[in-house]
Subunit: 455 residues, 2 copies
């Protein structure tokens, strides 16, 4: 048999020309967004005040299986894609496992993560609609960076509300965004009504993702020629991210490889949803079977300890309601939580698939995650983002099980990004100062008490 | 004609299997290293106290044209190589130039630069010789990071002396090295005799590359089972870096492209020497002609304003003397100089080639360099290291000349690395606080007064 290379690259002409919409193959469709005022599903018109028209279409389209990727977006994809599918020969050898481990590496672009796959699409549609600019929030900063890059490419104004504590602790992220011409405002700020209200109520607050979302939405809807864009959770984002899975599948198919286990980290679900999309499609259509595992932080366990219910998407409660596995919109991970994967809810698509039993979920504590990250870095070269290292942790665990049983399983995981901006956390880990936190049942009950009542 | 893709990747089997030693094709060989005590060329035995045996051979070998790359190194190369040769379609369009611009991007690995190409080779030979570990110095931190990665891969101890001001200003670089298990000591330190002496003489000093070299060499020669390794300047390093040029040439040849101009930034010369190697070989053999341009910082202009003479390689004067274009071993770039390219001398190979008229050199001030960096980042996506941006600056200049003349020249430049750890400098640039400095003739005369007397 032909030896599998270290890195499988697709040729340009092998790159996907359409995104795959997994909803088309779901029998139980994800629940629609609801208008918090009326409790009725959001109409295209209502959503059009917040999102670009074309993205609203994509958000609501549960039927079209393949949605063509516009030529301009494909041209941009070619600047940094295809991303390599890497055979982790060195890790396998180090572990002494008979398992075959592959990872799809999305960190080889300046945003440092997979987020660029969706930001360039969202910026393109905003430009095409003749808008002046877009607003968004960012926590760890990957999404804000990705959006800044996309906006500078299309000449759009970009306003980023960055969670205040990240703004202060990650000044370098801010500078990357400024390099791409974005305006970055620490949130909560006095530039929005909701920001001023939150500052009044909680004067010393260091901000949260839910609060930054509220500000970004307000900044968009109160400005002529602006719309709001979001980097995860939404159906449209998972659609764009399907490019990850489509490339992964094409690369595996080239060598006739069929994975047994597919693993991805899960915060809002954009990477996981993208990575598994075409595999999940086969599973839904009964054409193949795969074990699909979502890994979330033990400190923010929406899949494993949340409730499947309608909830607010943001702290200010200005957004539509979404049905998802949620910890309650007031949930904020403990201060010792490093990195992203800190959103209180999970993509509606993945929530439905999980609820229907098509995938598993597990958690990892962060000291174990950083241990896996360091182990991986030392043999595979790449310094992973803490988010991505959740998947590494579980991939290693599964590979070690294979070592015990002697099974030659094929494991594929998503390496979403690099950890260049997470070195404060790495430093804590090296100095033995990193701690773990698992929320108590009481804490979760408390944050879940704020769920809205929906008939 | 077949459309050139955005990124030309070689297949694994097209990757170089031997390094190219440009010295074999040089009529005037680079001058040998001299023993500072005797003034005589360093023997293999003398060099063997400092460097690994196999590397000493490579250092002294002016004749063997192709030196096979050991299988273990080729396996590691496959983890992060081949690096892409990128057609800068977006930059060309933005500039409106008829020129065709290509860049060889070496930043897609965690060390963030081309330095890994040589560190993995040096670590391999150290391991093969049964050594316990290696010592080195690092300034901006790219080399230290690359060496840490290589040592962790082969299970070698790695001691890095990091210029004190960088150690303090770039704590994240230090943490990356620690992730790979290296010990990082700010230099000058009290762990070496020379360090203590320098600290006594200059109590408040923030260190320099020349001083860190002295400490690293002392740390190696006074320890059983250790050798010193260096990331640039040396013949062996340029040899390893020839992999950059060989891949570049193979990728261009695949599409029948012949460059007119080849541009690289130049500090100690490792990237430039590697990038141009096979092209220079053709030029030396009279088989082809290329314009080859070295770009150095106006604040550290060894080619353009230095003297071609034997000089000390380090501040402590413990190293052999090298004949090179130099500003004097006491030269330290002004404190406002950001990034690397701060060594006082230039590779002996490149110095000889430059002196023989085979290449040109030019300078750029750093505000212009950062302007070019930002322009590039916004259209090509990649956030470049300040070092690499010197080449971008001149590539853009040359492309704009083509716009004036209408010439469809092919320009190739080396994009050596990413700027993730240079965001303090980017911030200064964004805030309008970055300044330029060009040393006066008097300053250079003063630093050149320290040149050793060699018959």
């Amino acid at each position: 048999m032909e030896k599998i290379p270290y890195k499988i690259y697709l040729e340009e002409q092998e790159m996907p020309t359409a995104w795959y919409n997994v909803r088309a193959d779901m029998k139980n469709k994800p629940a629609p967004l609801l208008n918090p005022g009326t409790g009725k599903p959001m109409t295209a018109e209502e959503l059009g005040g917040v999102f670009c028209d074309e993205l609203v279409k994509q958000e609501l389209d549960n039927d079209t299986r393949l949605i063509p990727i516009p030529e301009e977006i494909r041209a941009f994809y070619k600047m940094y894609r295809p991303s390599p599918l890497v055979r982790a020969y060195c890790l396998e050898e180090k572990l002494g496992t008979p398992a075959h481990i592959y990872y799809k590496f999305e960190g080889n672009n300046t945003s440092g993560s997979h987020k660029l796959n969706s930001s360039i699409a969202q910026a393109y549609y905003a430009k095409k609609q003749g808008l002046k600019g877009v607003t968004t929030e960012t926590g760890a900063g990957q999404w804000g960076t990705a959006l800044s890059m996309a906006c500078s490419y299309f000449g759009l104004d970009c306003k980023v509300y960055m969670v205040k504590i990240s703004y202060e602790q990650k000044p370098f992220r801010r500078e990357v965004m400024r390099t791409y011409g974005a305006t970055v405002t620490p949130s909560p700020s006095d530039t929005t009504q909701i920001g001023r209200k939150i500052l009044e109520e909680f004067p010393g607050t260091t901000g949260s993702l839910g609060c930054a979302i509220s500000e970004a939405v307000e900044a968009a809807v109160t400005r002529e020629g602006y719309r709001y864009v979001l980097g995860s959770v939404l159906n449209q984002v998972l659609l764009h991210q399907s490019v990850i899975g489509l490339e992964t599948k094409a690369a595996l198919d080239k060598y006739g490889i069929k994975p047994d286990i597919i693993i991805g980290c899960a915060g809002g679900g954009s990477n996981l949803g993208g990575l598994i999309a075409p595999f999940m499609g086969e599973k839904l259509r009964g054409e193949a079977d795969y074990r699909i595992i979502a890994v979330e932080p033990a400190s923010c366990p929406s899949f494993t300890r949340g409730t499947y219910a309608y909830d607010f998407c943001d702290t200010g409660k200005v957004c539509p309601l979404a049905k998802m596995y949620t910890l309650g919109s007031g949930f904020i991970p403990a201060p010792n939580h490093a990195g992203g994967l800190r959103y209180h809810g999970m993509s509606s698509i993945l929530s439905q698939l999980y609820d229907d039993g098509y995938m598993e979920a597990t958690t990892a504590v962060q000291t174990d995650v950083f241990k896996a990250a360091e182990q991986f870095a030392r043999v595979e070269g790449i310094l992973p983002a803490p988010e991505s290292a959740h998947a590494i942790k579980v991939a290693i665990d599964e590979a070690m099980k294979c070592k015990e049983t002697g099974e030659e399983k094929t494991i594929v995981f998503g390496l979403t990004g690099t950890g260049y901006f997470d070195l404060v956390a790495y430093e804590k880990f090296h100095n033995g100062e990193m701690t773990d936190y698992i929320p108590t049942d009481e804490e979760l009950q408390k944050s879940l008490a704020s769920l809205p009542k929906v008939d």
